[in-house]
Symmetry: none
Subunit: 413 residues, 2 copies
Amino acid sequence: VKTEIINVGNEVLLGSILNENARFLSERLASIGFELLGHRVVGDQGQNIREAFQEACKRGQLIIFTGGLGATLDDLTREVVASQLELPLEKNSFWEEQLEAIYSKVGIELDEKRKKQALIPEGCKLIPNNNGTAPGIIIEKEEKLIILLPGPPEEVKPMVEDSVLPYLKGKSPWNVIKTLVLKVIGLGEATLEDRIRDLIDIEGNPRVVLMAQSTETHIYITVKGMNKDDVDSILRDWEGKVKEKIGSCLYGVNEETLEGVVARLLFEGNYTVSTAESCTGGLLADKLTDISGSSNYFLQGIVCYSNEAKMELLHVPQEVLSSVGAVSEETARAMVENIRSSSSSHFSLSTTGYAGPSDDPDEPAGLVYIGLGTPQGTFCRKFNFWGSRRSVKEQAAVSALNLLRLYLEGHLK
Amino acid sequence: VKTEIINVGNEVLLGSILNENARFLSERLASIGFELLGHRVVGDQGQNIREAFQEACKRGQLIIFTGGLGATLDDLTREVVASQLELPLEKNSFWEEQLEAIYSKVGIELDEKRKKQALIPEGCKLIPNNNGTAPGIIIEKEEKLIILLPGPPEEVKPMVEDSVLPYLKGKSPWNVIKTLVLKVIGLGEATLEDRIRDLIDIEGNPRVVLMAQSTETHIYITVKGMNKDDVDSILRDWEGKVKEKIGSCLYGVNEETLEGVVARLLFEGNYTVSTAESCTGGLLADKLTDISGSSNYFLQGIVCYSNEAKMELLHVPQEVLSSVGAVSEETARAMVENIRSSSSSHFSLSTTGYAGPSDDPDEPAGLVYIGLGTPQGTFCRKFNFWGSRRSVKEQAAVSALNLLRLYLEGHLK
């Protein structure tokens, strides 16, 4: 199925945000065997949307729009597509009720302008949106398939996974198309590529591609086949081949996140954890509390930026701070041992380092010590991260989570 | 000048990398007043490049390509564009010498295949590339301006800054083009649009457009003129008009961020701040410590998820927790007052709420109380946020920062 993606929106067109939707959709569509002809970005004006749609119709059988479904006057995707296809817009009562519920909750009146988000072209299918006010729309007309999705990537992603992909898979000549995502941490993309080079194949079946994310790399394995058992067995086989080459750097599959895997391991053991953060400044606690139910395992976190706070809240000895300094294995160790005992948690994590930016050779940005407190003793690791202040914080927080994961999975001894 | 950007390359088309070039070029071109009609991504095949070029020529006067200038067989941008414009390719001796120097340095023979990177269409201008082997090319023909650039963003960026932008500025009928970004918080995009509807003009001069970001909205005002003083005075005038309509919801301009503005206000007053977080789980401290030098104002942060931690670390009275509960104005107040006095900071912030997800009507996801401790007393605010767990955490942390900003700017009494 020849496919074009059209992203509508001045934010993307004028370069204030990256086109995350195009990347995500391209990758997901390619993974189920749709042939991407191109993606394009146009501004919010009706004329631009119309021209892009007409050109895409000449070539593509499947056309996917993102953006332009909002409640403001310059949100015109719905109107332009409906008028080009000569389909009248009609009220969808189910979605109007959703809008009423959402707006009454935040105390804003559902006026006529906002009600337009409940309009969909006659006879078309609505895709529910659990994270925003704009539903998606599936239009089938004259052998063309047109799908309208909202703009924000955090709304697009679940809608694609939950509704669009299952729907499109039903249109495929294969009975079964399955993608397994293997998630890798602690190996750069280039190193990972070297390790599994002979498995990578971007055009084959299985199709195996690498996708670098900010602090990890994902391996997408897609298998097309005629029956489920065969496809599953091929996927299991390939998962094994990858695992053989990268071992404990493979932390999870599919929807799993590093935070989620750590949370599951803590839940399973009925364990608790506490944090003592310096250079990550709260980001580690933030990640540990991103999981629903985290109050069951996360006891407390302390963010101690100053030496005073380290001494007062975490009893890091003054001698340690004045001899080896705050950025040292000794400080990381004192922090993690003190928070573990004062909070009576099974595990504890600490971070101390230079987040940067700084050109001071005595305080090299990216140097970070991470401590892990366990019932079997304390582990410390030294890292040299590279990048912006934000990136160093991210890498440090993720490395701390990963250290706890490695321990809980028995890889750390 | 109507402009289209065409990115050639399977990596972008198939979603394995983000389209960083499109974002960068869009942003830089818009800033000097070029009117972006669209950007599009096509695969490496000659037919796709040809179709994209023909369609772009119908609308655009300036067409910028990135990608497809490499030395491999599937790099076809140069060849396709030259053949469409009926311009023969000829050897550029200057670049052939560069190639000889580069390849001899890395010890690779400059064979015929690699020599094709020194070919440029007859009569056209070469743009040197200091970071790669593919030069850029500027083609002027029949009132069209076509610019070919390589694919890697680290090569594209310096070429654009050093050669392309200076060249294009010379083509602009305006002497001065400036953009002012006004950053707004605490008003949704639709509400902001209602308030400043008569100022919005996406095609005028000034050009005024709205861009929704995740927790804020930006207003872009671009003015084109013949002299700097006039342009500056128009921008000041429009900034005043917007300010009149939205008052203290305007928190900053251009590169300023909410964290940065709060940090500046704290630096200026030589103030310190501490945090006591429940539902934001460390995210508020994370944001406060994203600014370089934050150790000067950020004293300490406590993340107390459990009632026990709230009592133990922050002395929230058991009676409060058992009578009105942890998610209450009283708890937010006790948390913020205790962290302020125990840390001896000038200011303190607290958050307590239900981050969700949860369908329990007794624990409505998104209900958050935020406390602000100041030398003049304590302020508490109740919010009803909407969205995913992550989104509720983000909105709560940003609202806490904003509360402190409003106080420091004298808007809270």
